[in-house]
């Protein structure tokens, strides 16, 4: 479409609609632009709006006048205050600016008026399609519950996910002079407050559905609810009232659209097309940046409307999605604060500050070095309990980063937080680790990890994954391991763990050089054991369903392997109960169809793995730790689920497990895994903080900054680490 005098209708006079109108009108004075807004021009609904980056340089470039008036009106502040009950922690260096929504709208309306945008207030659009027929372009900037989006639903394909937390928006005359998070528990549950400065302060109350119900919020009227919070937070409010406009509780809807525009007719901007959780304070900025990108699309493509709209989406979508990902993490955090409530306040605050993934250990050092150094000192004292475990009186003057803090599991002290684990190898012969294998192990040990964990080592010949899987089922094996351990520990302060495995039905595979799970030819395979006679891959070797004798034999194999591991001099045993190997194949209904006490209910499915754990624990020295590598999900609708894994984790803990490492998938070849780099980190974090048990994170960590952040924030205790190639 090529036109010279474009006629545009804008539905919604919020930040997105007004800003887009004024930018387009300024660039193309001949265009005919009308804004339709449901509310009156001087509507004062809404409290303050935060911009988490005070410079807003792109707004300055887009329209100098608006930028100047906005920044003249801003209140600015740097610190974030965190109140964990009465404990107060402040971290500076975050540049924020705030403005009342009504002031923002007034500035934008003035500017629209000056430039000749027609504004029709108190005009509700009911039939956007009719409006679209009268104009060249319809802009839907009508917010969260966009009627424009709804009218063309099958084209935009919106997906709306509603958050689980309840929130309500209040204001108060009480000056909060910096961004303030308050966490407070009462008999009804844990309440979170987000409060921030403005002509009037904004005061958002948030809680879980459960807390909300416990407090009868569904029953209470506005006055009673306000009184409830005035009372609960009277120390922070200092006698000031809470104020409500349109009192209501909501759940945050996350909006995403498959498409942002329809040919050359309709385009969505701002909250209508995407939302991002308010806890990262970006909704308004996103809306205004959308408007800028739309203008740039027209600049780029003249008046080829279709091309301009494509350009706008192409430009904005990746940026918006990156911000939405951070917002999602922040939202997850706030919905699950209960999980972190047992962390020490300093760590609780650290976890809060680093929640969205955009701020890390290193960036906190840049933002507020005294806060960040203080955290290191605190962490060192908290972790390091010299002598008999009484914390040092005074804070250390030369503190190490969290990465270099030791971790104690039973009597074993792991000297730093980096663990080296190895993928299954395949160069051994009948379980005998080859010399190249042992040399490689020794080389890895010499690199100075706190914990060196072997790759899966078979407890018996039929428990090998491939014919080259190392084992610990003969005395010769023990000698080979002992020699390697001696040579590693001679020169380094390092703990060495053995990762015991029985491959179960996932055994007798070819090595993994050309792919996973390719069964050995029949002539080279051996008989496999499994809870049920179901092959791992279609057409693969059918395992034997384990009978009582097999159950006992494998139990004894674990027992003997553990004794041999003691003899060889390992510091720790880690049992593999993931990735479809024998123990996890008991956990998963996909591989376990038994109808005896080892199959069926979760309690039954976890029975055999727990028996093995008990057996190992009983022969392994008391003062040394036993850990478990646990399946956290099968990534299969009918498979083992995360909530089940949590129960297994809890049972393992009560049986004396000292360390969990979470892995996912590979229970069968039919799976839908997620490779979002944060998935495993999230599992790990939730197991640690739900079950209160040390964890080894196995996600792909490549920088010390990530290790420091994960360990510092209490999301992991040990991390596997893969340095980036230089």
């Amino acid at each position: 479409m090529e036109v010279t005098r474009v006629k545009i209708a804008v539905v919604g006079g919020g930040p997105a609609g007004l800003y887009a109108s004024l930018l387009l009108k300024k660039e193309y004075p001949s265009w005919d632009i009308s804004v339709y807004e449901r509310d009156p021009a001087d509507n004062t609904y809404g409290w303050g709006v935060v911009f988490s980056d005070a410079t807003l340089s792109n707004l300055r470039e887009a329209d100098h006048e608006t930028h100047e008036r906005l920044t003249d009106t801003f209140v600015r502040w740097d610190p974030i205050d965190i109140f964990y009950e009465d404990e107060h922690i402040r971290c500076g260096g975050h540049t924020f600016a705030g403005i009342m929504r009504s002031d923002l709208l007034a500035i934008l309306q003035d500017r629209c008026r000056d430039l000749g945008v027609e504004m029709h207030h108190e005009t509700t659009i009911e039939e956007p399609t009719e409006l679209a027929d009268e104009v060249d372009l319809l802009i839907g900037a009508d917010g969260l519950n966009s009627v424009v989006r709804d009218a063309y639903e099958e084209r935009f394909q919106p997906r709306i996910e509603t958050g689980s937390a309840k929130f309500a928006w209040f204001g108060t005359e009480k000056p909060f002079d910096v961004f303030t998070f308050i966490f407070r528990e009462n008999e009804h549950g844990l309440w979170r407050i987000h409060a921030y400065p403005g002509t009037k302060s904004t005061f958002i109350v948030e809680c879980t559905e459960e807390t909300w119900t416990n407090a009868d919020m569904d029953e209470l009227g506005e006055t009673e609810a306000l009184a409830y919070f005035e009372d609960l937070f009277d120390d922070h409010l200092a006698g000031y009232d809470l104020l409500a406009k349109l009192y209501s509780w909501r759940n945050f809807p996350v909006v995403n659209c498959r498409r942002w525009s329809i040919e050359d007719r309709v385009v969505l901007l701002g909250d209508a097309v995407h939302t991002a959780h308010y806890s990262i304070g970006s909704g308004t900025k996103l809306a205004m940046e959308d408007a800028i990108a739309l203008l740039e699309g027209f600049r780029e493509h003249g008046q080829d409307v279709d091309a301009a709209l494509n350009w706008y989406e192409k430009e904005r979508r990746p940026r918006v999605e990156a911000l939405q990902a951070a917002a999602d993490r922040s939202q997850q955090y706030f919905e699950n604060v209960e999980r972190y409530w047992d962390l020490p306040p300093q760590q609780f605050a650290y976890n809060l500050l680093t929640r969205s993934g955009r701020i890390s250990y290193d960036s906190l050092k840049m933002r507020d070095v005294s806060y960040a150094d203080g955290f290191d000192r605190w962490f060192q004292r908290y972790q390091y309990t010299p002598g008999d475990g009484t914390p040092a009186e005074s804070l250390p003057i030369a503190a190490n980063q969290p990465l270099h803090q030791p971790l104690k599991l039973r009597d074993l002290t792991i000297s730093n937080r980096i663990a080296i684990t190895e993928q299954p190898t395949s160069s051994s012969d009948d379980g005998m680790p080859s010399s190249t294998y042992l040399e490689a192990l020794i080389e890895r040990g010499s690199r100075g990890p706190g914990l060196l964990l072997t790759d899966p080592v078979a407890v018996s010949p039929e428990g090998r994954i491939t014919s080259g899987t190392p084992g610990i089922y003969t005395d010769e094996h023990v000698d080979a391991w002992a020699e390697a351990i001696e040579s590693i520990t001679a020169s380094a302060d390092i703990s060495i763990g053995i990762h015991l495995v029985h491959a179960g039905r996932r055994g007798a595979m070819r090595d993994r050089h050309h792919g996973l799970d390719r069964p050995l030819p029949n002539t080279q395979a051996w008989e496999l054991l499994a809870p049920s006679a179901i092959p791992y891959t279609p057409g693969g070797h059918v395992p034997r369903e384990m009978d009582d004798e097999d159950l006992e034999a494998v139990r004894m194999a674990y027992s003997a392997a553990t004794e041999r591991a003691v003899e060889a001099g390992f510091d720790m045993v880690q049992l593999h109960a993931g990735h479809g190997y024998l123990l996890s194949s008991y956990l998963s209904p996909l591989s376990n169809e038994r109808d005896d006490v080892y199959g069926g209910s979760l309690e039954n499915r976890m029975r055999y793995p727990l028996e093995i754990f008990d057996q190992v624990r009983s022969v392994w020295p008391d003062e040394r730790p036993v850990g478990v590598t646990l399946q956290s999900t099968d990534w299969n609708l009918n498979g083992f689920k995360t909530y089940e894994a949590q129960e297994v984790g809890a049972a393992l803990k009560s049986h004396g497990c000292d360390l969990l490492s979470l892995v996912a998938g590979q229970a069968t070849i039919r799976e839908r895994p997620k490779y979002d780099p944060t998935v495993l980190a999230d599992f790990t974090e939730s197991f640690r903080n739900e079950l209160d048990i040390p964890v080894l994170a196995t996600n792909y960590v490549t920088t010390y900054d990530e290790v420091n952040t994960l360990v510092g924030a209490g999301r992991a205790d040990l991390c596997t680490f893969t340095p980036l190639p230089e």
Binding site: K314, D511, R512, H514, D517
Partner: protein, 307 residues
Amino acid sequence: MHVDVISLEADTYRSIISLASSDMRVGIGLPNTLDAADGDMLLSWARRADDGPFTSVGVFDRLVYHGTDPLATLAACAGVTEEVRLATSIVAGPLRSDALLAKKAATVDSISDGRLTLGLALGARREDYEEAGASFNDRGRRFSRQLHRLREIWEGDDIGPEPVQEGGPELLIGGQSDPTFQRVGRYGDGYIHGGGPPRAFERQAEKARAAWQESGRPGEPALWGHGYFALGEEAAELGRAYLLDYYEFTGPFAERIAEGLLTTPQEVLQFVRGYEDAGCDELILFPTVADMSQYDRLERILKNEWR
């Protein structure tokens, strides 16, 4: 990287990669989807590439379009070259039957003495599927099965020829979705990226490495990228128009691709360095204008300015 002693010989190529993993190699695409390119031009690009500095020649696959068949093109290239890798970037696997694809790829690998790098992906164009008589909706599932079958055939005795590379041609898998990365971890030798700025490559490469590690595969996945060039102002215009046309069906994405077109030496270098920093093993730069002078210009930049 763990390399069996027995497989070393046939596997030299792969072990060389892993020894020199921080030095990215650069390949050049053949103009096999460009109208103006005839057989002569395709083969002379390949012949020249064989003398360096390029380490591979790449081809695209698109059925309902004017353009040559990727594997047939590479087979012809095999005859006029000796050194250069022959890469598909990519072939839409599920458009083809497993056995025919396996045989064709094994043939190219065998007559080129083990130089085929087979990049495979789903291919997003519905019309290609319709014309090939292949079903579109279950193509993901069929693709996974196909990857499994390809290895089986290459390693088995029934359908020859036996590929020169042990275990079959180097197998790269392309795409963006989670199942893509699962396939990389489960069946592939590496990942081939669909184009875009170095940062986009880096994000996907990270997923490929993570999937590789989570799958418990030894070593590192091979990571390949690709980009488009049209050097000189006039060529830039033509190149952009070609990309907008070629990717028209993707909507806003076409814009993004066209915008990434490398039109000056500076842009080429920035791009190449960016990919190298992002850990790419081999980057193939595809022409968007079928003209030998495009080859000359790119070659000059890489010879004179890079390293």
